[in-house]
């Protein structure tokens, strides 16, 4: 079969250079290359968008495009087409930058040998094809692996379900009273079943994380409550190993802006790990305080008197599937996903996690989370001084559920879906979607703070309702929107921006409280 000629798009504004290049193809078979010559970047973009080009020869100094920008624009117009940049002698450094931006190769004008250009083009196309293929294989493999893990995890759940059921049946004495030793052994079975179950959940969590499905619903959350919950949940496991587990907090801790379920999950993983690596008579402490290096954050610490981690490992332990090679730490350490999940959960909530330790000297795991502050949350919209005195509309979106009982997971995923749609309705520099501001009997309320007058408030409210309609119907939800208008809060001449934001925040909070409590009464 006769091969189609390679379509070369030459983008070059210098007629002399263009002619030189054209002549380099003279010795090639006429049906092997077809050269299209354009002078401007904008024309090249139009041509590339139409498709058909196999490769682009791109000058980086065009009348309507210069430097790396030309490479980016060519890629944006036709992501799958390889680009070779043409540069002068003096901008080789720029050419090297172009390679980082995804150009396949660069050729220096005046140094291109006649026969070399067609060969360079063929090589670039072939290299690009191989690279694309490798990328595709890698993506497919990742996808296959995640699907496989997800499938296997589901299949493991059924038999595990039966084991758990019968163990609890025996433990609860439904099949006759157990002797103390039998009871003890059954407890061991149950403990291991739960461990297996949590590993399966970890696997699913990670595959969901990879697929971007990990749901996090940030809201005003109490760190003290989370610590109290985790200490009481794991007290039994610590006592069983002869470990003292305690918490020690500053008297009044500010609330954080995070998902309370996820904070508990993070703490459970950290304390559970500490129990695993701390010998009998050891001690584990959970503490929290305002971070001294950044007063906008709270720092949570889980410290133990266990075997510690060598300092060169303190970063690697957060890697996916990390397993220690230290023989003294061997044993059943799980899948090596716990700390990885922790890190994902912390960073996705705007915090950081790190560990400090030395072998044999215990370890301290620290997690930071942002403090909940309405003035901070709304500040992006008010950041420019001229906007500080503008009127404010508070758009309330109320989501109700038509379905029956829903698990927390499903609720969280639904909220997440609504949030995504809401986010798309907003102007990022004028409107702010607040995190969850507390629950109101049976319905979920979402608040958007918009820098606009009442007419604008009505418009946004309508836009949100229309865009959400299709989404909520699909998810079996109901939606209604309304808006409240906060009269302009004028900045006093003696007031700093921060103080002004503080007053604005208080006004907004008051309106939110009214909205929330009225829903409580209606739905009570």
């Amino acid at each position: 079969m006769k091969e189609k000629p390679l379509q070369v798009l030459l983008v070059e504004d210098n007629a002399g250079d263009a002619r030189l290049i054209r002549e380099m193809f003279i010795n090639e078979r006429p049906d092997s290359f077809e050269l299209t010559h354009l002078l401007r970047m904008s024309d090249a973009e139009t041509q590339l968008a139409k498709g058909g080009a196999d490769i682009v020869l791109l000058d980086m100094g065009l009348p309507d495009g210069h430097g790396l920008d030309t490479v980016r624009r060519a890629h944006a117009a036709a992501p799958g087409v390889p680009v070779i940049v043409l540069t002068g002698l003096d901008d080789e450094a720029l050419a090297a930058e172009a390679l980082k931006e995804g150009a396949q190769d660069y050729l220096i004008k005046g140094q291109i040998e006649n026969r070399a250009l067609p060969r360079a083009l063929r090589h670039a196309i072939e290299r690009h094809r191989m690279q694309t293929e490798t990328d595709l294989i890698r993506i497919n493999q990742m996808q296959f692996k995640d699907e496989f893990l997800s499938h296997v995890s589901h299949e493991l759940r059924s038999p595990l379900s039966a084991i758990r059921q019968f163990v609890t049946i025996l433990l609860d004495g439904l099949a006759g009273e157990l002797k103390p030793a039998q009871h003890e052994y059954m407890e061991i079975v149950l403990r291991n079943v739960k461990q297996l179950q949590s590993m399966i959940n970890d696997l699913l969590e990670v595959t969901r994380g990879q697929a971007g499905k990990l749901t996090i619903e940030p809201q005003r959350a109490s760190i003290s409550d989370a610590i109290a919950y985790v200490v009481s949940t794991l007290q039994g496991a610590a006592t069983a190993k002869g470990i003292t587990l305690s918490s020690d907090n500053e008297c009044v801790l500010p609330s954080v802006c995070a998902d309370p379920t996820r904070i508990r999950q993070i703490l459970i993983i950290l304390v559970d790990n500490a129990i695993k690596f701390t010998p009998a008579d050891g001690e584990i402490k959970v503490q929290a305080r305002v971070f001294d290096k950044d007063p906008r954050l709270v720092v949570l610490e889980v410290s133990d008197s266990g075997c510690g981690i060598s300092p060169d490992m303190t970063e690697r332990i957060f890697e996916r599937l990390f397993q220690t090679s230290d023989p003294s730490l061997e044993g059943r350490n799980g899948l090596g996903l716990g700390l990885y999940i922790c890190k994902e959960l912390v960073t996705r909530q705007g915090g950081q996690i790190w560990a400090k330790s030395a072998l044999g000297q215990g370890a301290v795991f620290s997690v930071t989370l942002p403090i909940f502050s309405l003035p901070n949350l709304i500040s992006p919209a008010f950041s420019k001084e001229v906007r500080a005195d503008r009127p404010v509309a508070i758009v309330v979106t109320e989501i109700g559920s038509q379905s029956g009982w829903l698990s927390d997971d499903v609720r969280a995923e639904q909220s997440h879906g609504v949030r995504e749609v809401l986010q798309h309705c907003l102007h990022s520099d004028l409107d702010v979607l607040l995190p969850k501001m507390g629950a109101a009997g049976g319905v979920e309320l979402f608040f958007v703070i918009a820098l606009t007058d009442s007419i604008g408030g009505e418009a946004i409210s309508k836009r949100i309702r229309e865009r959400l309609q299709e989404h909520v119907q699909r998810a079996g939800l109901t939606v209604s929107t309304s808006y409240q208008f906060l009269p302009p809060v004028k900045r006093k001449s003696t007031e700093s921006i921060e103080e002004h934001l503080e007053r604005l925040g208080a006004g907004i909070q008051e309106l939110i409280d009214v909205e929330t409590s009225s829903r409580m009464v209606v739905n009570a």
Partner: protein
Amino acid sequence: MPNKKILIVDDDRDVQQGMNLRLKANQYDTCLAGDAFSGVAEARRSEPDLILLDLGMPAGGGFLVMERLKMIPSLAVIPVIVVSARHGLENQKRALESGAKAFLQKPVDDDQLLAVIRQTLGEPARMKKPALCNQGVV
């Protein structure tokens, strides 16, 4: 008052038996089916107060059972709780849209299962029966 009757439809005999024991210990009468076809037949025969339904089963899955039940007026009113190892929002949504009152993930926690059953049947919440024997626990 007579005990409420619960139909367990699950193709995993072990899971079925486990649920059966747990429900009987909590003063429920039970009847059993191991596939979609006999699930509908058993519902028609014994007219239970509630159905615990698995999704992945031979002879059509749990969704088929719900579809069939809806076509028979006397059975359409029986509340269904889906208990499945299948994961994912899609299955949960589909189950609820098909008329299920709740969706529980296997392995299901006994307390949660009983709480959802009671809520669905409109019964008052009860404390879990304390373990008969708790000596010797480490």
